[in-house]
């Protein structure tokens, strides 16, 4: 379990209050003149053990309440058995910029982000509302099933997108929902190029998911040679890419235009030529 606001755990120090109340004995309360005090003293004396036990229990309950409040204020993150939540307006911001199409460990980053988005939507209940906002500015709302379908259909687009704008849009959606509890989930590969500006969250609870592990190296296409030089549908393109470590990877494209592209590279980063071909309208490289 982790905490979104761990400093709120300092509130747990407030357990000193019930402790002090118990140890110092309260002097607060109404002042009552009562001549039959001797009966009261006798009652206290004869039943003091029961009263002490009850007071101790009361103190423990008060301490538990303070601890629970501090824990709640720290906003713990974790899944517990049987846990539920109040009706929540949930906006999932899905980064589908071109960089999420990169393949890591045999799987595109976008696929992992989509899995995380579906996991977030799966925790939503009947009283919740959900929206999907993608980096290319598209918004899908409505029932939960429609949003899940939209997540499934989301593909990387050829561009960096405006993730900051998508977050702002998500915040506006949850705030205009009329539901008191707001939550924005940002699912991104963490590429700086997708963030064009600073987004205001307006105090909306926000969770950011980014894939763990070492990010793939950035590469650049430094040379592309069509073969034959005059392009034909059966021709290929021999491309040469380079990375910051001066590693050069050569590849060969089988077709000219790939509007929706998912790149997969085989050969485990081995330098040299690699050929690319198109499969069922998707960009696949080999």
């Amino acid at each position: 379990m982790s905490f979104l606001a761990p400093f709120a755990l300092l509130l747990a120090g407030a357990i000193a209050i019930p402790l002090a109340l118990h140890l110092l004995r309260r002097k607060s309360g109404e002042h009552v003149e009562f001549p039959a005090l001797q009966y009261l003293l006798r009652a206290q004396r004869e039943f003091s053990r029961t009263l002490k036990l009850r007071n101790l229990l009361l103190m423990l309950i008060r301490i538990a309440i303070v601890l629970a409040l501090a824990l709640a204020a720290a906003r713990p993150i974790g899944q517990m058995i049987g846990s539920g939540h109040a009706p929540t307006a949930l906006a999932v911001v899905l980064d589908n910029s071109l960089s999420t199409s990169v393949v890591v460990n045999g799987q595109p980053v976008l696929a992992r982000l989509k899995d995380a988005a579906k996991a977030a939507l799966a925790r939503a209940g009947n009283g919740d509302r959900a929206w999907l906002v993608t980096a290319d500015g598209k918004v899908v709302g409505g029932d939960m099933e429609a949003v899940r379908d939209a997540v499934d259909r989301t593909e990387a687009f050829a561009g960096a997108g405006d993730l900051g704008g998508a977050v702002s849009r998500a915040v506006q959606l949850v705030e205009a929902s009329g539901i008191p509890a707001h939550q924005v989930a940002i699912l991104t590969d963490g590429q700086a190029s997708a963030w064009t500006g600073v987004s205001s969250l307006d105090g909306v609870s926000t969770t950011v998911f980014a894939p763990d592990g070492t990010p793939p190296r950035n590469r650049a296409v430094v040379r592309a040679i069509p073969e034959p030089p005059h392009w034909t549908p059966r021709g290929t393109i021999r491309a040469t890419t380079t990375a910051t470590d001066n590693e050069v990877v050569n590849g060969t494209h089988a077709r000219r235009a790939f509007p929706r592209a998912t790149a997969r590279r085989e050969g485990h980063g081995e330098s040299g030529d690699s050929s690319c071909r198109n499969t069922s309208g998707k960009y696949t490289s080999k």
Partner: protein, 293 residues
Amino acid sequence: MDPALVAGLGSIELVARRIVDGFMQGLHRSPRKGFSVEFADHRAYQPGDDLRFIDWKVLARTDRWLMKMNTEDTNLRATVVLDVSKSMEWSGAPGRLTKAAYAERLAATVALLLLRQRDSVGLIRFDSEVRTVIPPRARTIHWHRIVGSLMEPGAGLASDATGGLLAAASLVTRPGMVILISDLLMDPIEVADALKVLAGAGHHLTVLHIMDPAERDLGVNAIEAEFQDPESLRTLAATVADVREAYKTAVTETIDEWREHLSGAAASHEIVLTDQPFGMPLRRAFMNRQILP
């Protein structure tokens, strides 16, 4: 009727008259046996007895020599010993009489009942010391003196019932009746010892234990409170709901202890709640013993 309503009708004098008018009239019966008009019992003849009191009819029928014992009508000498300490100046509810106000009206009522029957009645008021001593007299005008004394301020900080009871013992030398009216917030052993002295002198003893209903069941309108004894000024913080049941048990146990100590001193004990009509404690306290004032 509600004692607070009755008390609102006028002064102690007026209130006591109303209560007595509605209570009862008639002669009390003396506990002392003598040779008077009304038959009480037989005893065996002893040489030297007055032959006038031999039951000749029994002798004729059974040949047994028995003396007729008859009830003697006497003038009772009663002393009301009234607690006027600080603890009596308390009421558990705004519209209710304080224990002291209730006890004063009760004392005035008892005094008037006795005087109307041509008995003698005296009054002793005490708090930390004996405040007032009015010797028993049987004149009707004597009641005004008692009522005037009841209106005097008292309310010292402590209760010394022993001093008041011993003053009563010295005041009434002939066997009579002593009525202690107090909230009994004091040591039962000391009081019982003083009562034993009176019982030894042949007095009939009655203790009217004045309690406010809020004292009986801790009927305090507070969730948590700091309670203070107005006499000792001791304080105790308590949560009312927590201690209420324990408090009731403590009150019951204390009352049982008082009854035990007082029965050892041959004194009758009656709880008198300040929201009860005045006639009820009078009937219970005196009719049970068949010694009607």
